[in-house]
């Protein structure tokens, strides 16, 4: 196959997936649509974490807290009658600012220390959600969160709201695609691979570290803003530390540092429990076991396996070509 046909095949495959995501769910029931919407929302949050962790190499255990901040912002503002778009803007700015501040420890400490600072932040955020009754209604939670009207269409029903989630996922995907191909994305990777070399090449590592945190967190906020109207009721429980750990596992299982990693990771984390429903209470145990086995086999996740396979095939093809070319070269000599 020539490079051009390969490219067209890839584009055709991408379009087929998008078409399937749009048309197949049309006759899904309420629950199926809820699960798919949840997948879209979690993918957005995991994409943010993939930027921070996968591309910029900064470990964060606080992404769940940012989803929570986004969700509470949306819930509080929309129940006061303000539009969801406005809440989205506030969430993004708020999470960006808090993420920027959370990045400061990353300038001083790395790896496991950073993991623990962000873990502490996650716990603090949970305590605020639970205890500040005047703002978040505490353990009783906020109910009757309205779904938005977009361009004159009401999105109360599950299908239209699924399209809202899918559309948001599309916009975020394009933005992230653009970002990782921009000089910024390359600076993030440089930061991950070798911070000192990046610094000596004139990259302002300080600014980019903070940026990686801020942008990743802002995407967590976007996911939260969609989560609140999706469930229409929020309380502090879903935003505890385990959401942050789940999101981290999604990124790693899918393939950290791969563009499509979060899509796959979120699909496994959200859909696998549904497929394993027949095993009743055992599904989380099986999920944990599957994650451990996967990580032992391939620490770079599922896309890591694919990547390894493709590299191997390319190496084999190259050596086959060399074998063919060898006699010619020898006769020429």
């Amino acid at each position: 196959m020539s490079a051009a046909t390969k490219k067209y095949l890839r584009i055709a495959f991408g379009l087929a997936v998008i078409a399937a995501l749009i048309f197949v769910p049309m006759n899904f029931n309420r629950y199926g649509l809820f699960i798919l919407s949840q997948w879209a929302v979690m993918t957005i949050a995991a994409m943010g974490l993939n930027l921070t962790l996968g591309y910029a190499g900064q470990v964060s255990l606080a992404q769940g807290a940012f989803v929570g901040i986004g969700a509470y912002t949306a819930a509080i503002m929309t129940t006061q009658g303000l539009p969801l778009i406005g809440a989205l803007g506030v969430s993004i700015v708020l999470c960006f600012a808090i993420g920027w501040l959370l990045g400061y420890p990353a300038l001083r400490v790395q790896h496991h220390y950073l993991a623990f600072v962000t873990l502490a932040f996650s716990t603090l955020a949970f305590l605020v959600f639970r205890n500040e009754d005047w703002l978040t209604k505490g353990i009783y939670g906020i109910s009757n969160i309205p779904r938005p009207h977009l361009f004159g269409f009401a999105t109360n029903k599950p299908l239209p709201f699924y399209y809202v989630c899918l559309g948001s996922l599309g916009i975020v995907s394009l933005a992230v695609w653009w970002l990782i191909r921009s000089p910024w994305g390359r600076a993030f990777v440089a930061l991950r691979e070798n911070p000192i070399r990046a610094l000596s090449l004139g990259i302002d590592t300080r600014r980019y570290t903070l940026m990686a945190f801020a942008i990743g967190s802002a995407l967590g906020g976007v996911a939260g803003t969609l989560y609140a109207p999706l469930t229409q009721y929020i309380d502090p429980v879903p935003f505890n530390l385990s959401l942050s750990l789940d999101l981290l596992m999604m990124v790693i299982v899918g393939g950290s540092g791969f563009y499509f990693g979060p899509f796959l990771g979120a699909m496994i984390a959200v859909l696998l429990p549904e497929w394993l429903r027949f095993t009743q209470g055992y599904y989380l145990m099986l999920y944990a076991l599957a994650v451990i086995l996967l990580l032992i086999y391939s620490p770079t996740g599922i896309l890591g396996i694919l990547d390894r396979y493709l590299t191997e095939r390319r190496t084999k093809a190259a050596s086959a070509l060399r074998e063919v070319a060898k006699p010619k070269l020898e006769t020429a000599a």
Partner: protein, 291 residues
Amino acid sequence: MSNLLDLLVAGLATGAIYAIVAVGFTLLWQTSQTINFAQGEFVMLPAFLMLAAMHAGVPFWLAIIFGILLSMLLLGLGFKMLLVDPMLRHGVLPLAIATMALAIGIKEAVKQFFSAEASPFPSIVPAGDISVFGRLVSLQSLGVLALAISAVVALTLLLNRTSLGHQMQAAAQNPTVARIIGVPVERMILLTFLINAFLVALASLLITPIYLAKFSSGEVLGQAAFIAAIVGGFNQVRGAIAGGLLIGVVDNLAAAYVSTQYRAAVPMLLLIVIILFRPQGLLGRPEERTV
């Protein structure tokens, strides 16, 4: 004043348990770069193993021995052979994430095979109060404190006074040189995993009578142990001990004097402040940053 004394004794008792768990945590980090996110679940599990033995009709003392031995087999040997050894060459982060998955697995297994409800657990120290300098102090707190401190002292003596302990330290600090001078590094690493398993089983035995046996109780314990290890110093056993005692006392005092709602926030804030201003911990040595 009597209130403060009670709080201090109770704080030191829980703190001593945190210290035991934190010491195990730092041992694993030092010898094999394992950040064990399942450490809290490791403390939760042995109590259920002991309960299961007791349900089978085994007397309490035998159940304790059974629980400790089985935890050393599962959480020491099994953990090392089946999870850490295959993962270690992949680096710190994938291994840490695998232990997170392990934590979920253990929690769910206990919930599924045992119970989602909290179960009472017999105390090895008799209940009641004892008079100390004319004040009544809970016998259970004192007993826990005494047992935990003797465990910590025994471990410190093992590490610092015996040839075996010196070999373990050598294996942790510089495996290459240790191997050259004839230290069986692999066996020493296995030994630290067994010691960690023993310590978590002991902590389980001491803390479960206070907080009941519940599948989710590992989360809080694990976090307390991480914080204790970092506050005290990640690369020092005595740092972890000091950190554990400090966190136990701070936690209890915060509950009494700050607010019960935000008691969990105080150790977290302490953690953030320590990491920002003294990342090597109160008693730790600075680690050189790897390029």
